[in-house]
């Protein structure tokens, strides 16, 4: 299958409506459009129930869309699901491990399912276990491992194989920082080799660090898509303003609260604020604060992805998509 424009994942006007007896229909995806290029690490961000997992389920052929089309590596997910499955591997949101098998057997059976030659399975399993710190657990049954280790086994599996597209649904959830780092490194390495990674995460720092492009999904639509700089610039010039005082006082907080801030956090001596450039003059804010207390230090930086996320979603209806996808 020849790819047009190097686009590996394409969704057009994708709609998914969940219908359950005696419940109102849930419109999980609402004419969602998306394109992901080869070798990209693409992040899907959004609130719970925004439609991210539904999108991954459609792209991995677990469910069919109500309308619209989706392609992976040029194959239509409804008309050619088998071809799609030949092109992907997926870490789903739920833990997915063979609890009665050992770590080594988990990797081995996964390799067989993905047609890795038998003589290569052992070497690949060793490499993956070393990468994810699973060597000492190799002969332990997964049922005896902790939740974090189970997740590690699940994520390690997808790095056994060389499928062109990898779906990761909150893959690092429950992992300790060391293994989270190993996972992020593995993701980067595999993207460098030309694999396309589509991931969802609630850890925005992770997305900021990892993703080439990001889409923010809300109410089943991509409300913003682009690289990090572009998304930040779209987000109406938001800034982080950190102001340090000799000591914190109620007057400082009261003064800060008279401004329409996106975020306000306090430490014993510092106010951490995010402001939208069009709403708040940073100078006016600093001026007002300097009238009620002595400013020791201040710092103005462009907003983090978290600020942008909060701004884009926080100003909209907080309800999210009604109901949860099954």
């Amino acid at each position: 299958m020849t790819l047009r424009d190097n686009i590996v994942i394409r969704a057009r006007d994708l709609v998914k409506i969940y219908r359950k007896k005696s419940q109102d229909p849930v419109r999980a995806l609402d004419t969602l459009n998306l394109e992901v290029g080869q070798g990209e690490i693409f992040g899907l961000l959004g609130r719970n129930g925004a439609g991210k997992t539904t999108l991954l389920r459609i792209l991995s052929t677990l469910i069919e869309p109500t309308s619209g089309t989706a392609e992976v590596c040029g194959w239509d997910v409804v008309k050619e699901p088998y071809r799609v499955r030949q092109s992907i591997c997926a870490v789903l949101q739920e833990n997915a491990v063979e609890i009665f098998l050992s770590v080594l057997d988990n990797l081995g059976t996964y390799g067989r399912f993905h047609s890795i030659p038998r003589r290569q399975i052992s070497a690949r399993a060793e490499a993956v276990m070393a990468q994810f710190g699973l060597e000492e657990y190799r002969h332990q049954k997964v049922i005896d491992l902790s939740g974090g280790l189970k997740r590690r086994v699940q994520v390690a599996k997808v790095f056994m194989v060389d499928k062109p597209v990898v779906f990761l649904d909150e893959a690092t959830t429950g992992m300790d920082p060391v293994n989270k780092r190993a996972t992020l490194d593995a993701i980067r390495e595999h993207a460098r080799q030309g694999r396309t990674i589509l991931l969802t995460t609630h850890i925005l720092q992770e997305a900021e660090e990892l993703c080439d492009r990001i889409a923010i999904v809300d109410h089943g639509r991509c409300i913003v898509t682009g690289d990090l700089d572009m998304i930040k610039s779209m987000a109406t010039r938001a800034y982080d303003v950190n102001v340090t005082f000799e000591r914190m006082s109620p007057e400082i907080l009261e003064t800060a609260r008279t401004f329409p801030l996106l975020k306000l956090r306090t430490t014993p001596t510092t106010l951490e604020m995010s402001v939208k450039g069009s709403d708040v003059s940073t100078f006016a804010l600093l001026d007002a604060l300097s009238r009620v207390a002595t400013i020791v230090h201040f710092e103005v930086t462009s907003a983090s992805l978290e600020d942008v996320f909060l701004e884009l979603l926080g100003t909209k209806d907080q309800g999210g998509t009604k109901g949860e996808a099954p």
Partner: protein, 255 residues
Amino acid sequence: MRMILAVMYREYRIRTTSMTWLFYDMFMPLTYLLIFGIGFESAVTGGISMGGEQLGYNAFFLAGVLSMASFGIAINTAYGFFVDRDNGIFYEFLTYPMTRAEFLIGKILFNSLLALVQATVTIAIGGTLLGLPIHWERMGLVAVGQVLGTTGWFFFLTTFAIRIRRNDMFNTFINVAYFLLMFGSSMFYPVETLPRWLQTVSLINPLTWHTDVLRYATIGAGSAQSVLLEGAAFVAFLAVAFALAVQTIRNPLRT
């Protein structure tokens, strides 16, 4: 074929992690014959009258044990869907590079092999120890009966295992199905001795068709004509069950 073998390999690896499972798989039907069968043989002193022929209870019950074993394997495999679903691996399987039919066929081929081993152990040891009048020349038909029987029951139960989300609900369903299908069949007693209404229930019960084919194959009881008809009916049941199972597994999340 590679995917079917991968599914079979996975089933084999899981099965061999527990000695209890292995014992259950290999010897449980034989144990049934040796305990329940001998107990009833002692109680029913005159034997069982079937088509004008007198049979020892264990000879009659052998086919019932084999069909029960098939049904039992199918139940265990269907429960496996719940275990796999609880562990998330079921949905991951469905993203693997195989068709839904390959997934089901791989599972059923492994379980059919298991049913064949069970039948071999039961007939060889049980038949020899108890001196049952086995028609050894019809063992090929027994093998076909066991494979088709296990397959039919597996597909039948798969549809329910995937559609019913709650473990306790499925448990109830299995208990009711087990009770109605087993006691409303020719597994434990000849159909012709039953009251009319229960005869009707038995005659439309696929477990009766399955058991009757096995009874003809193991001890030669019953007429070839009626067994042929019952065999054809069971194959039709299997085809419908397969179609329903594949249709169900195409939309596993019931969206």
